[in-house]
Structure formats: C-alpha cells, structure tokens
Amino acid sequence: MNTLRIGRLVVGALVCVVVGAVVLAGAGVFVARAADPIKIGLGMALTGGLSANGKPALMAMQIWKDDVNKKGGLLGRPVELIAYDDQTNAATVPGIYTKLLEVDKVHFVVSGYGTNLIAPLMPIAMERKLTIMGILGLANNEKYKYPNYFQIQPSGPDPEANWATGFFELAARQNPKPQTIALVGADAEYPRHAIAGARELVKKFGFKNVYDKSYPPSTVDYTPIARAIKAVNPDIVFVASYPPDSVGMVRAAAEVGLQPKIFGGGMVGLQFTTVMTSLGPMLNGIVNYDFWAPEKTMMFPGIQEFFTEYQKRAKEAGVDTLGYYLPPYAYSAIQILGLAIEGSKSLDQQKVADYIRSNEFSTIVGKVRFGANGEWAKSRVLQVQYQGVKGTDVEQFRGPGKKVVLYPDEFKSGNIIYPYSAAQK
C-alpha cells in the first residue's frame, strides 16, 4: 500500500470517528450523571483572550463547591457544577446556556467572566426569569434594568463613573491641586466605558483635559504614545487599558521618562501575578484600581483559608499563582447564591432573587449588599499604590506592604507617595 492510500484510509477513519462521536453525543453518552444533586451551570472563558482570569475564576467556584459539599451540600443535597468553555466568544453563549438549561437541566446559572460574555446572557435570563450572578462585568444591566441580576464586581451604583472616582478624588486631595490631565485608553469595550466615566469626572473635579486619545489594542510600541503625552506635560495621567497595553504603557512610560504627578487609574492587568513579577520596580508609585490587596484592612473571614486552598491548586494547574484579583470574587458570587438558596430554603428563581436583593451577605470578600440594577449598594473599588517593590520576586507580593490601599478611607492601609516620581527612587 502506498502512502497516499494509507493517508486516505486515515482520513476515512477520521470521518467515521467524527460521525460516531456525533451520534454518541446525541445519545447523551458524554454527559456525566450524578445522584439527585443541585446543579449550577455556567459558561466560562477557559480559552481565548480572557482565559487567564477565566480559569482561576472557575477554579475558585470549584473550591466553593467542594467546601459546600464537605459541609453537607445545600438543602441537604450535594452540589454539582457544570461548566463549558465559551472561548471568550459571545456567539457561543446562547447555545451553551440553552444546553445547560434544556439538556443538563441545571437549577441555577452563573454568568461567564467579562462584560462581553455577560451581555448575551441577559435576554435569555430575562425570557426565562432566571436569577443571574454576574462575574465581573461593567454596566451590563444599565439598559435592561432587570431586577434579578446581581453583579459581584464592587463598582457600585453608576459603575462607569465609580471606576475612577477614587483615583480622581486622591488627585484632587493633593496640595497643590493638580491642574491638567491626560486620558488614554485602548479601543475596546471596557476602556471606552472607563474613559467615558473619566471624562465626566474631569468635569466634576475641574481638571483640564490636555490629551484624550485611544489606541488599537494590538499596538506593538507604546513609546510614541508615551512621548506624545510627555510633550503636553500633564499633572495627571489616567490610563484605561487591558493587560498587554498596561504592560506596554508602564514600560514605555519608564523608558521615556514620563513622570506626571500621579499615574495610573484604570489599568487592568497590573493585578495579575505574572505582570507584577515582570514589571517589578517599574510599578512603584502607580496608583491603580483594584478589588483586593493582601493588606490587614482587607482580611475578611474565610479569605485566608480560601487563598491557601486556591494557591495550592493554582500551582498544579499553571494559572495565576497568587489569585488576588478575580478568584475571591468568583467564590463569593457563587457563595452568595448558595447562601440565598439555603436562606430562602427554595430552588425557586424568584424567591432566591428576592432573598439576594433584600439581605446583606457575609462573604470572603466582606459584607456585600446589592442595590439598584443589581450593582453593589455602595462602591468598593479600591485605589492602591505600589510602593517599595524591589526586583521581580513573587514572594514580596504575597503579604502586605507592596500594594497599599489608599481609598476608600474605611479600608485605607497606608499613605500615598506623591508625586509619582518620589516613589520611583
């Protein structure tokens, strides 16, 4: 037999395998079965652009499932978590959630991670009157005002503006008050929201906007942008960016010698362990948003046990090793769902939603109460500043001291080093 014929047989065999798989899948052979559990389903970004956070988020929820099952489950029944990969692609969401609801027959659903992946879930949720726990999305419910949606991101009411309020407030408190500001952000959904919110705040706080441009996320070199900003010599630089551009901007700023009085604001990615360890001392002085920091003021009940377990699993799975950004929030989102099921003693969507809306929950990220549109009743977007980072070792970020919480005041754990250049020494 010559190579070509063998090749053709291989191809023919492949075709048979595929057809067979399709038939078997249709017969439900690949669907796992368990005995009378409570099923919670979700799509999550396990591949694609957001998977760096998506995988840890799912892991955190699996830790919750194990914690809950160790204590006897919910309403006396074990909990089962069914997750599919949404590939960070909004088009997969309708199919995934329909399968979860119609084929896997889940009792509750949780959203995927990210504004773009929560958006296509909203109409499905509204049509079927589902209770939705949202995992970190910005302003998903503004248009719909659906009452059974709850978002674990601590943006609070008016999420677009609240994102940056702390940053602007810190700037305005300094003496003498800075005058000029440069706004720069990526051409993508979150940064656009953030910059829109920032523009409002510029007016509110009376700063003068001297630079307001965006860049395509696939930009290779950020030095032209950093230079252009340096040329207008702003007192404040507010950046809204995703991880690759955050890294690019920080490096470019360091290279070009861009030193406003206060720098940072809405940079996603600086919270990731791999980014922190590779930027190292270049982070010093940057004031940026965050959701959690390993400071004394943020040690809520249960969170240290969570991190111990998470960091153990993360090491084996090869995901974000410290997990200080999304994982605790993913855990507490599903934790709230579980508490509400127990508290309302029911699996009815409306009863559970009503319970969530009218109660305050004690979770591993502290006390959570929801307000209008399902956002947090009170914003808790932190502003942190990196201080005293030396070298690129990861251990220095494990404990307190390198990421000091500046805002809001009730969680403040240190003082701002102002201006920015002072922290660089």
Binding site: G7, A90, A91, P120, D187
Partner: protein, 310 residues
C-alpha cells in the same frame, strides 16, 4: 439531479425542518442547528469563489461581520424587519466583494488572498471606531416578541434552513451553468482560459460578488441570534478557518462538498464545545484540515467518488 428535482429536495428539507419544529425537539437543537446551518451557507458561499474559481478568501470574517453590522445599522436607523436586513446585508457584502475583486483580481491570486485578510483588519478597525453601531462597546439588541413560531430560537432556525437551501440551490445552478464551466476553466489554467475567450475578469468578479453576497446573508441574522454583537466575536478568526476547512474537507469541486463539510465539522465542533476542551477542538480542526489538504485534496466527495469507481 435535474433542476426541478433539486428544487423539490430543497422544499423537502424545509418541510423536514418544520416537522422537527412541530415535534418540539429539545430547544438546544435549534441553537446548535442555527450554527451548523450558518456554516453551510458560509462554506457554500466561500466555495463559489474558492472551489469553483480557485481564489482563496481569507477574509470571510469581513464579509460575515459586514452583513451583521449592516443589519445593526438598519435596525438602528429604520427599525427594518428581518427580510430587509438579510437582503441588505447580502447586497452590501456583495458590493464589498465586487470592490475587492476589482482592486486585486487583475493581479495574481495570492494578492487577492492577502488583500482579503487585510480587509478583515481594516474593516474591524473601522467598526471598532463607529459608535453608531456600538463600536468597541458592542451593540445590544432588545428583541420584540417573535412574530412567528413563538420563539426566536425556532424562527431563526427556520430562517437559516430557508437561507441554506437557497444558497445551496444557487451554488448548484451556478456550478452547472456556463458560468460554472468558465470558472472551472480559469481555475485550472487562467491563461489558457483567456486564450479560449473565457471572460475571466468578469467571471471572477461575478464569483467574488456572489460569494460576498451570501457571506453577508449568513451574517445578517446574527444580531438577532446573539443579541449582543461586538467586533472581536463578529470578526472571529474561526469563521475564516472554518470557511476554508469545511469545503476543503468536504470537497471543493461541487456544491455537495461544503454541505458535507459544514454538517460534519460544524456538528463536531458544537459537540466539542460541550464535551472536550475546546482548545483541543481547535487544534483538531487545524490538523484535520492540513491532513485533508495534503492527503485527500478532493475531500470526502473525492474519496466517495474513488470508492464508487472500484
């Protein structure tokens, strides 16, 4: 198959679909079915240019997304109904096909391919910056109650069945007409075809326009399906790869190939989304594509033909 018979088969397919709806199968089937049928249209459309004429289009996402965004624009500006959206989406994408063809088809085929890839990037940048259709923030569609069949899932599924049947019938009739023969001639040897008097440029332009038209048609109902459209998922590279892989695997010389490829590969991918890791699923698509291209260049249709001849 004679044309009348083919037409009747098409009607029978639509009838079968209606039967499925009547039987109230699991709603998940409509969502998965929508995607597979969407790929039938995409693969068939791609093949008109790629398989019949031999010009490889890497920019499928551009045409598909253009169909979707034309629909969004018309929804925002005029509240246009679905049939208008589909027609308009197809026409605009067809015009794009004509334009890009006119610019590059007088050169070597590879320049057309690179230009289509560049087109995707440029168009995506344009859309990202066009706030009227949502731009980078994305566009949310709030659907009114479905006018027929009681649910959007079923309605969209039926629309797709209809569109798929139409697309395949059109592709089939092109294939059997003098246009199809002319395209085959220029695919095999463009210079020789020119010498024989085949109007190669006009045929090529016809192929790009028709191909673009149906790609746009595939994209126009997309906003209704996902209700949230943002550039990175509308321009997803998967459309480009699948548009290539499905005809290649099924067989490029006839209308049956893309259909087989789309049904097989599309269904396999839908299954994989909810079973094995989808990263592995993507890798498998790539490997299968390369294997087929190297070992079985005529696709499944070709393999079947060979088996029959024995």
């Amino acid at each position: 198959m004679k044309t009348v018979r083919a037409f009747l088969v098409g009607v029978a397919v639509i009838g079968l679909a209606l039967l499925l709806v009547g039987l109230r199968v699991n709603p998940y089937a409509y969502f998965a079915g929508y995607v597979v049928l969407q790929y039938v249209i995409i693969a068939t459309a791609w093949n008109v240019l790629g398989g019949y004429a031999g010009y490889v289009n890497f920019g499928t996402p551009a045409f598909f997304a253009l169909g979707a965004y034309t629909a969004i624009f018309l929804i925002e500006a005029f509240g246009a109904p679905l049939p208008v959206l589909i027609l308009a989406g197809g026409l605009v994408a067809g015009l794009l096909g004509l334009g890009i063809g006119y610019l590059t088809l007088r050169l070597k085929g590879v320049f057309f391919s690179i230009a289509t890839f560049a087109l995707s990037v440029v168009l995506q940048t344009l859309i990202i910056n066009w706030d009227y259709v949502g731009g980078a923030k994305g566009y949310t569609l709030i659907r009114p109650p479905a006018p027929f069949f009681g649910s959007w899932a079923i309605l969209l599924f039926m629309v797709m069945v209809g569109l798929a049947v139409v697309t395949v019938l059109v592709a089939r009739s092109v294939e059997r007409s003098w246009i199809g023969r002319g395209l085959a001639a220029l695919r095999d040897n463009e210079e020789a075809a020119e010498c024989m008097g085949v109007p190669t440029l006009r045929l090529k332009l016809f192929a790009t326009t028709l191909s673009g038209f149906f790609l746009g048609v595939a994209g126009a109902p997309f906003p209704y399906y996902v209700t949230y459209v943002e550039p990175s998922s509308a321009f997803d590279l998967n459309y480009a790869v699948n548009a290539l892989a499905m005809p290649m695997i099924g067989g490029t010389t006839t209308w049956m190939g893309p259909v087989i490829g789309a049904v097989l590969l599309g269904t396999a991918q839908q299954v994989a989304t909810v079973t094995i890791s989808s990263e592995l699923n993507l890798l498998i698509v790539g490997v299968v594509l390369v294997l087929f291209v190297v070992l079985a260049p005529e696709g499944i249709v070709g393999l079947v033909r060979r088996l029959r001849r024995r």
